[in-house]
Symmetry: C2
Subunit: 413 residues, 2 copies
């Protein structure tokens, strides 16, 4: 076993702490991973692998927190981006790529009739709740406790720099508990503008929860009965479950849908999409940014979506994810450990059944990183099209060694 | 004179209206320009010129609403972006480019000690006001009436989709009226977190206003006296007035500064920068987005900033802008018209002295566009390094013809 050096990562991080708050801000801060066992800075990527600045290579299951859906440096996406780049990215006007991308999404996703483009998921989830408020002329937004809908102020109850007004009209219900939704709808009768949900529950630091039978369909009915806008935040799962949208995978129909991560294989583009009745309201919300219409990202997205469809990528990723999930469960059991594998196969996550404090998870993930496999201890994983059987096999071999270490350190379950 | 065809623009716009709210959202919507006289879609750019989808070419003074500071398709920036692209853009971690860019900005700008990166100006102005609130544990933010600080909900009083809570703690004062600031500070004694300003006043649909002598220095003193965070929104003017920050041009020192447009010659990156005392508060605000650390944009920014410094670009742009402003004033007078040229030479704007309804401006801009020169009727203009004397001369020839048309239509002043 090779012991990774993080000398260059540490040196850069030291420099970073001097000129960047926390050194690295947001969810890429090492404090959110396994400090000392994960690298801090990346150098390059190819297929399902990337190298850190010290030259350590990882089979990657975090995919840049989601966007890398085909694989790093995908030739088809890069060629499309390159061709557009020679024409230009930022202009006074959009380019034809904006129209082509909107038409492609409308064509792909039966539930939607229109799209508007941003750069990050947060841009479009904020736009969606504003569109719901504009459409209904009401104030309240309901979201699931623990759900992540981006970094804008409306959905980050009580975090640094926020004030109560930022989120006073955003209320939380319990995932899979339709009664808790109905209670809020009754309590704020006539003032609920929208319900925003992810297609399944994927909070950080917790097992993923699939929708209970009928839960999403009940929410749909509540929205219909009370003229509430039903918003799907498909930023994380979009185009990894069903090319027609994750709501097709789970059998329900949202009014507005937000996409981002897997849209463009690493290029910054996001979309808020919706059905016809909400288009007028959407057009009355001022939604703009200097780079919202950048053409290179849109060209990359056109190529990425085409490639996902053409290569039947989701089917392959489902197979790889299932192999990984089944393999981890079996390998853990072989080492006398019980693990929970949750979420759909293309976005799996693993926790140890006997703990809630993630100490086993952190040891496991840290040891796996040392052996060239990046599996996040607190955040769901992402399968890419570039993951092949040999990569999953190698991952399971590494997992076997890491489970043995966990078992030795913490004992068998 | 060539009469431009907009057949392809119109055809695309018709397609766009079917699948995108308003067809084109935000400030790039044709309704904000001269409908029927400006193209709707861009095709390609080179130097200070771009082509629309119908093949019409324009000497451009809008620069993609600011980001194109060197010129379209600048070879140095594109080479730097290309080199990074081969390594990758989106990873689980930042790349060394993040640290290098933060160090470069800290090195360039004496007033700052740290930076954090976003994608659009709105990302960083929101982060700045949250940092001010976190630092002071107060709620109120003061901004100038008519100022634009981005598209997030806190600064868009009364627009579609917003509710009062979004902006109830954001109050407006009158530009160049320090008493109106002091009135608010007294009224909300002990609850004012920050004052946010642009380095000079550049509202849309109005003349630009430079700071009156002492105005910015008085605001600085008010902030010092009342422990209020002084925030400079340098998104639009940054790196077009002084490479050390626009506050150096005007002789004051902000606590936090926001940059975006001219940072990377068209690549989507923005920065919130600040001095040491505000770094801890900044690190307690959750500031993240999947693409906030994308390395290609940061590599482009490193190259763009270097190139601006090395080529003394601002000096050249000041010269070109002065030639344009002086030339327009004289050419207008030659045609019996009085125009107001306002703002600094690198970000000029022109209105007709005898009107407030922009009808002359729209006719002038529309006729100029037909002749291959893009001068926006309602929004300030941007000079690029790629503008040369011959381009300004050509622009003044076109302006002469357009002033004659305005004079014929509306009469001499």
């Amino acid at each position: 076993m090779k012991l990774n050096s993080f000398d260059k990562s540490k040196e850069l991080f030291l420099r970073a702490t001097k000129v960047i708050p926390s050194g690295i801000s947001g969810n890429k801060n090492p404090a959110f991973a396994v400090p000392g066992s994960f690298p801090y800075f990346a150098e390059s990527g190819e297929g399902c692998r990337y190298k850190d600045v010290d030259g350590n290579e990882y089979i990657d299951y975090l995919a840049g927190y989601g966007p890398i859906v085909l694989g790093y440096n995908d030739p088809v996406v890069e060629a499309a981006a390159d061709a557009q780049r020679k024409l230009g990215a930022a202009f006074n006007h959009p380019t034809p790529r904006a129209v082509e991308l909107a038409e492609k999404l409308v064509d792909l996703i039966p539930a939607i009739d229109w799209c508007a483009f941003g750069k990050n998921g947060s841009d479009v989830t904020a736009y969606a709740i504003q569109t719901a408020r504009e459409h209904t002329q009401r104030r309240k937004i309901l979201m699931a406790k623990g759900a992540y809908h981006g970094s804008q102020s409306w959905c980050r109850h009580g975090l640094g720099g926020l004030i109560e007004s930022d989120y006073e009209h955003v209320l939380t219900f319990t995932w899979n508990d339709a009664d808790s939704v109905m209670d809020l709808v009754k309590k704020y009768d006539g003032d609920v503008a929208g319900i925003i949900i992810t297609p399944y529950h994927h909070p950080a630091f917790a097992d993923q929860e699939m929708p209970a039978p009928g839960f999403l369909q009940t929410l749909r009915k509540i929205c219909d009965d009370h003229e509430i806008v039903f918003i799907l935040d498909d930023v994380r799962a979009g185009f990894r479950l069903d090319m027609k949208g994750s709501h097709e995978y789970f059998g329900f129909k949202p009014d507005l849908t937000c996409y981002c991560k897997a849209m463009a294989n690493g290029y910054a583009v996001s979309a808020c999409c919706g059905s016809q009745p909400f288009k007028n309201a959407a057009s009355r919300v001022f939604f703009t940014g200097t780079y919202y219409t950048s053409a290179v990202e849109q060209a990359a997205s056109l190529a990425c979506l085409d490639e996902l469809v053409k290569s039947n990528a989701i089917e392959h990723m489902m197979k790889m994810g299932t192999m990984l999930m089944d393999g981890l469960k079996k390998t853990a059991a072989d080492n006398g450990l019980e693990v929970r594998l949750t979420g759909p196969p293309t976005l799996p996550f693993m926790t140890f059944a006997s703990e809630k404090n993630f100490r086993r998870s952190q040891l496991f993930s840290g040891e796996a990183a040392k052996r060239g496999v990046l599996l996040h201890p607190h955040h769901n994983w992402f399968i890419m099209r570039a993951h092949k059987e040999a990569d999953i096999q190698r991952t399971l071999e590494v997992a076997d060694a890491c489970f043995a270490i966990v078992s030795k350190e913490f004992g068998k379950d």
